[in-house]
């Protein structure tokens, strides 16, 4: 017999980006909330995802900047990576944010339940012996690394989880998967001094990005000495004395100290009782309608558990949406095309809106403008290469913004406003961007599309 943990307006399973955002917004809207988490408040993003990887990438940036300092007139010697120091820095950032988040959740009077929960009714989640009743239930149990059947031993074969705890820099790494997480780790390993080879079954790195962006990234990685095998699926791996030997389809083998598997993430939903109460699933993902409702009782789901972009800010947006929806507000549906995507490798790859290919597939008559960062003063100062590409409907609004270059990730927010507010190129072109910034490259692309190129050779 289980005890009662009480009844809440909203009971949430999982305190990652999606779950905790829903909890915070629901509490603001005067709902009583129970937030169930078996590990740590903040979930994947804060502890094993966005934040630690971006800390490693920044250590990598510092390492590269130190190595190349002579190009900027700074005399310095680079003496290597101190992994203990890297982890100390990384953990300091995580701990500070974790403390802030914990305080925030507490200050909004959310009931945090520590432990592993399971859905035990259409309005009930049970943790251990205690049942929490919810007038609404939110499934937010997130995702975990997929492994393509590779046996992860945590030593010679690893995923992002083990990679975040490495105690020394490997001499060489094969990365399985050239998606966002794969190229980010490739960038880190390379900055830290390793030989890196990425194996990607599709024809391009970051294959969900506009093809022009993929090509620019490939060129930049080649210059950085990051190798890649594109269009060649992985076949098998065996561990050797000194590391791993990876075999690709067709027979080519690559030896390295480490195999890092980064072939995507799958939902955490097994054995959590979802199907038992009638929630529909597909390949482990929970199926929801456009209101993130599962179709069963008052059960909603969000984040990496459903088949939308696996991004923390999608989790935030969905969490806010669900809370507002339950509260009886009528929030506008999320336009997933309008969500910015950033890959934080060096150079960064960033986009919002549609790729040229998708825009064409959807029947748009499009115009596009590529503006090379070679013409951008600030990019030259940073000595970075890349481009900005803007896709617009002919005589219509901007449909997509695609960028490659150091630090361009921050520029997606401008793209986010432009895309979501359906601005015309001429409306952006009217606003001359500040000099010298990288954002001017975006400005120049819009000026060109508006028929009034400024610093632009056509």
């Amino acid at each position: 017999m289980s005890e009662s943990g009480g009844t809440f307006d909203l009971v949430i399973l999982g305190a990652g980006s999606g779950g905790y955002a829903a909890a915070l917004r629901a509490a603001e809207l005067d709902m009583s909330v129970a937030l169930i988490e078996k590990d740590k408040l903040g979930g994947t993003c804060l502890h094993y995802g966005c934040i630690p990887t971006k800390a490693l990438l920044h250590s990598g940036e510092v390492a590269d900047s130190t190595r190349d300092s002579e190009n900027f007139g700074v005399k310095a010697s680079f003496d290597g990576i101190d992994m203990a120091g890297v982890h100390k820095y990384k953990n300091k950032v995580i701990n500070g944010l974790h403390k802030g988040l914990t305080g925030l959740i507490k200050s909004r009077n959310i009931t945090v339940v520590e432990g592993e929960g399971k859905v035990t009714g259409t309005d009930e989640i049970t943790v251990g012996n205690t049942a929490y009743k919810g007038r609404n239930i939110l499934l937010a149990s997130g995702s975990k690394p997929k492994t393509l059947g590779v046996d992860i031993d945590g030593e010679k074969t690893i995923t992002s989880e083990e990679a975040l705890k490495l105690e020394h820099v490997p001499s060489s790494v094969v990365i399985l998967g050239g998606g966002i997480i794969g190229v980010e780790f490739a960038s880190v390993y390379r900055s830290f001094g390793a030989e890196v080879t990425i194996v990607e079954a599709l024809d391009h790195l970051v294959p969900s990005e506009d093809e022009d962006s993929s090509k620019l990234l490939e060129r930049a990685f080649r210059k950085r000495g990051i190798k890649y095998e594109l269009g060649t699926p992985f076949e098998s791996v065996k561990t050797t004395e000194s590391g791993v030997s990876v075999t690709l389809q067709g027979g080519k083998t690559i030896d390295a100290e480490l195999l890092h598997v980064a072939v995507g993430r799958g939902p955490v939903s097994d054995g959590l009782g979802y199907e038992d109460v009638g929630v529909r699933m597909e390949r482990g993902f929970v199926k929801v309608d456009e209101n993130l409702h599962t179709g069963v009782g008052n059960i909603y789901a969000l984040g990496d558990l459903i088949e939308t972009w696996q991004l923390a800010h999608v989790g935030f947006a969905e969490g806010i949406f669900v809370a507002e929806r339950i509260a009886g507000l009528n929030p506008p549906a999320i336009d997933y095309d309008g969500v910015p995507r950033i890959t934080y490798c060096d150079p960064e790859v960033a986009s919002v809106g549609l790729t040229a290919k998708v825009a064409r597939e959807r029947g748009y008559d499009i115009v596009e403008k590529n503006y090379n960062l070679g013409g951008n003063g600030k990019s030259q100062i940073l000595q970075t290469q890349g481009a900005v590409k803007v896709v617009a409907e002919k005589d219509g609004p901007v449909l997509g913004v695609h960028m490659v270059g150091a630090r361009v990730g921050e520029l997606t927010t401008e793209g986010q406003l432009i895309y979501n507010w359906e601005a015309l190129p001429a409306e952006v072109a009217q606003l001359i961007h500040p000099h010298p910034t990288q954002s001017e490259a975006l400005g120049e692309a819009h000026l060109a599309l508006a028929g009034k190129p400024l610093h632009d050779h056509d």
Partner: protein, 70 residues
Amino acid sequence: PPRKESSGAGAPNGSSGRALAKPPVRKLAKDLGVDLSSVTPTGSGGIVTREDVQRASAPAAETAPPAETA
């Protein structure tokens, strides 16, 4: 093709009595000297469209003064 079904991407509902228009359209109205609240909206959800603003500015186009600053 229709851009997206959801009416006001980015336009929150239930805001105070002000006319609903996407931000760039507000800027267009300002540049053309058109008072948004006097424009009849034709967009879905009562949103003032670019075309609405242009139509409202058409008769006075020749004499439209340059926009004043906020």
